[in-house]
């Protein structure tokens, strides 16, 4: 049995890391973007972002004031665990105090804020099972600026690949500068309405630049990335070549009569963190992050 106290500690730690240290894949993509820009305005925006990322690490403070709502991805291997839901909730409340994180989670109608980031079904926890000999807990804090620009389309199968590309273009045009570009597209294809949205979010867990293993999907990712960057929306929507840092797609088989497509937009603050916990209490943090 992995002690609950150890799990909670590790969850507080990934919440702190995710808010303050950006994974290296995102940092490198931003640095490349900065090098590729020639005009003053986009260079200034990307420099402000990169300086801010450095400052966040140095001071141990959240890189963005919107520390998001918390989506967890838990993968239970061949280990004994107990009470994960409540342990994760406690960790979120504790990290909200200690990091500190902004209390973002509110009741959807009364807009009442409990002040802890813990509410009904929030943090949201996805459970999966594996044959690993450890418990893996990942967290993705999701800010509203980018999430608000995420979209779903229930295409007819006849629209096919072209329809998906059209939808990607429309989504970026609709988003413009609002989701703090440069952004990342998590593209979910197939399944059902809810599955496509979920796949889009899950795709964002994949390191930037790592292509989908199937050639057809990988090509679609490449094509959308290259074309959208020609729009000229640029960092913060103020013009430039760096609009999209990456596209990651995941798919599921779907009903023969439908073609759901979802795009989950992630802003430059592509925060995520991961811990692996072993039965002997050892905690491993495998993600390479900026130091």
């Amino acid at each position: 049995m992995i002690p609950e106290e150890k799990i909670k500690e590790a969850c507080v730690e990934i919440l702190r890391r995710s808010a303050t240290q950006l994974p290296m894949d995102a940092v490198n993509a931003l640095r490349r973007g900065y090098e590729n820009e020639t005009d003053d305005v986009p260079r200034m925006q990307l420099k402000a972002i990169l300086d801010n990322i450095d400052l966040a690490v140095k001071t141990g403070t959240p890189m963005c004031q919107d520390t998001g709502v918390h989506i967890f991805f838990v993968n239970i291997g061949k280990v004994d665990v107990n009470g994960l839901d409540s342990v994760i909730n406690e960790a979120v409340a504790e990290a909200t105090e200690s990091v500190p994180l902004r209390p973002n989670a509110v009741h959807p109608l009364t807009r009442k804020n409990p002040g802890t980031n813990v509410g009904v079904r929030m943090p949201y926890i996805n459970y999966h099972f594996s044959d690993n000999d450890y418990l893996e807990i990942g967290v993705m804090p999701k800010g509203a600026g980018s999430e608000n620009m995420s979209r779903l389309a229930m295409l007819t199968p006849a629209k096919g690949l072209k329809g998906i590309k059209e939808f990607a273009l429309e989504t970026m045009l609709n988003a413009g500068g609002k989701p703090c570009p440069p952004v990342i597209f998590g593209l979910g294809i197939g399944g059902s309405a809810d599955i496509a949205m979920h796949l889009g979010k899950q795709a964002l867990l994949r390191p930037l630049g790592e292509r989908h293993p199937e050639e057809e999907i990988a090509n679609l990712e490449r094509e959308i990335l290259a074309a959208i960057n020609d729009l000229g929306i640029g960092p913060m929507g103020m013009g430039g070549n760096t609009t999209l840092l990456g596209v990651s797609a995941e798919y599921a088989h779907c009903h023969t009569a439908s073609l759901p497509v979802a795009i989950n937009i992630q802003c430059w603050a592509a925060r995520r963190s991961l811990v692996r916990l072993y039965p002997d209490g050892l905690a491993e943090y495998p993600l390479e992050v900026i130091q």
Binding site: N52, T59, T67, A269
Partner: protein, 199 residues
């Protein structure tokens, strides 16, 4: 493109002298205010009720910061802009009613706000989205908080700023908007992008 340092309260002349694309650094009081502050303040005005701060010649920052209490003093941890377009339907009236001279945010604002800026002498400053730690460095002191019951992100935080910036004039008083310019360029690029996508 020129670089200027301005002190709040801002005069109408101060802001009318700015052009879209100029870089500005601010000193003085800046109030945070997003959706709820706009809604509440306008409701109060309608009912003839006082609001707790005076926005006249002042600056409103679309921002829901992370604040921390250090003893009984509030400290700014992170304070980046929020998406301004959420206030699109409220801002023109807000500018008119309360006489704000500058709005700070991200992502730009729609035509009615551009018109209000022109008519009442107000500018829109864009500040880099998410650059919250750097921006917090421009906050020297937190002088107070009002409407705290709206929650930390939605309250009015009274910030004393020093060298807050760089801010880019996104909308000036002459009807220019950097964002509208980019929109036009983007629109012109769409056919090329479609061709590349084969759609």
């Amino acid at each position: 493109m020129s670089e200027k340092r301005l002190t709040v309260p801002l005069s109408e002349d101060d802001v009318r002298a700015l052009d879209a694309g100029d870089i500005v650094y601010l000193d003085g009081i800046v109030y945070t205010g997003r959706d709820e502050v706009h809604i509440h303040a306008l409701e109060h005005a309608k009912e003839g009720k006082e609001i707790p701060v005076d926005f006249k010649d002042g600056v409103i920052f679309h921002c829901g910061p992370i604040m921390k209490k250090d003893g009984d003093k509030w400290v700014t941890v992170a304070a980046g802009p929020t998406t301004s377009s959420r206030m699109n339907s409220l801002e023109p009236e807000f500018i008119e009613k309360f006489g704000v001279r500058a709005v700070i945010g991200k992502g730009g604002m729609s035509a009615p706000t551009i018109e209000a800026c022109q008519k009442f002498g107000c500018v829109y400053f864009a500040i880099t989205g998410g650059a919250a730690v750097s921006i917090a460095k421009g906050v020297e002191d937190v002088l107070g908080v009002e409407w705290f019951e709206l929650g930390m992100p939605e309250a009015i935080w009274i910030l004393k700023t020093k060298n807050l910036g760089p801010l880019i004039v996104g909308i000036d008083t002459k009807g220019n908007s950097l964002f509208a310019d980019v929109d036009k360029e983007v629109e012109a690029n769409v056919p090329k992008v479609r061709e590349k996508l084969g759609i």
